[in-house]
């Protein structure tokens, strides 16, 4: 069975505002779904809804043709989410943070040292995360993406606080992930150039 993420008829109302209405999409392996829009347009909310963290006004999200809410654990086992807040503990060191994340997931083939080298943070391994710059912390979050070794990536503004090299790294990682048969949903306020099939949703 091939993996597939799809959604039908999504409508979300927050307060008095309708963020999106009757939204449909389908995403196959190797494809990128780009959610474009200004700040506050509902990109993050849509990502949270895909992750099964928001209850929608109407509509349903499907993973492998079955509703996400009926198989939450399986679905969560297949995704990793890079949120606006990194979700890393400032008081723990980089390695402790990543080890904890890894301990909640199945044994991954990716080695921690190799991944840290890849995203350029191996020098910082023993430092508490608090002492790292914002850009370095984003890189740690990227390392978590690669370490998780799962088919679906949810990325919320992955380019923020990164320098040129960092932004290039993100593009590279996403492209690699897609060519190896992964899927990616990305929220961004500007267009991105990625060498893959891209579906665009404007919010």
């Amino acid at each position: 069975m091939t993996e597939k993420l799809s959604a039908t008829n999504l409508t979300l109302i927050r307060g008095e505002r309708c963020l999106f209405q009757e939204l449909d999409f389908a995403l196959n392996p190797g494809e990128l779904l780009l959610l474009k829009g200004q700040n506050g347009s509902g990109k993050t909310s849509l990502l949270r809804a895909i992750a099964g963290m928001l209850s929608l006004e109407s509509g349903e999200i499907f993973w492998n043709e079955a509703p996400v809410l009926q198989q939450r654990q399986e679905f969560h086992g297949a995704l990793v989410w890079l949120a606006h807040k990194t979700g890393l503990k400032g008081d723990l060191t980089l390695v402790e943070n990543l080890r904890f994340e890894a301990s909640l997931r199945p044994q991954s083939d990716n080695d921690l040292a190799v991944v840290c080298e890849r995203v350029g943070i191996s020098r910082l391994k023993r430092l508490p995360l608090r002492s790292l710059s914002a850009g370095q912390q984003r890189r740690v979050a990227l390392a978590r993406l690669v370490l998780a070794d799962v088919p679906l990536w949810l990325l919320d503004e992955p380019f923020t606080s990164l320098d040129r090299d960092g932004r290039h790294l993100v593009t590279q990682l996403v492209e690699e992930h897609l060519t190896s048969g992964g899927m990616c949903v990305m929220a961004a306020h500007q267009d991105v150039e990625i060498n893959a099939t891209v579906h665009r949703v404007s919010l």
């Binding site: 654990q73 807040k85 890393l88 904890f100 301990s103 199945p106």
Partner: protein, 232 residues
Amino acid sequence: MKATNPKQPSIFASLIAITRRDLLLALRRPGDILNPLFFFAMVCTLFPLAVGPGAEQLTLSGPGVLWVAALLATLLSLNSLFMSDHEDGSLDQLLVSPQPLPILALGKMIAHWLTTGLPLVLISPLLAMTYRMPVDVIGVLMLTLLLGTVCLSLLGSIGAALTVGLHRGTALLSLLILPLAMPVLLLGASTVSLAADSELYATGIWALGAYAVLALSLAPYATAAALRISNE
């Protein structure tokens, strides 16, 4: 093609992992452990100052004062149970983790008890002695506090999960938790009083134990549900 690896780590392993993480975090910030303890000692000191240092009065009010102080100290620490995780986004990461959320919540509760409830139990004999409590009664006090703080950590986490992310969370948390904690206080304090009067007190211990078992089996689910709701 990337396939989802079906072999998840065992539930027990993830329980250990999250407890370990929270304990490590508490060790890096010892203040979070010490503050409730100081608060506990302080409340116990305030009381004799307010009602007078008479020996008879102290023996009579000792169990009650120690128990109320322990309850308030636990309450004080509950506010931060999910707060920092909510602020740095790691709570969101736990919500999308492939492990069952009740287990993760239970792990956090265990860590909370180990860093708040257990230290309270351990320093309670010191304060009990200042209230002229006999040694065998101190044993009963420690036993009731041991069971009682477990109940309070479990119950409190439900309230903390319901109020996480709310602006007026702190005051609301006390309003939600205190009525729920009342049976624990009542059972705990009167069991110690019974022991002090050298009467049979086993019923109270059993009742507290039953309460702890009930809370242990229900609170993780309620907390998990509450966390999902308040992070929508």
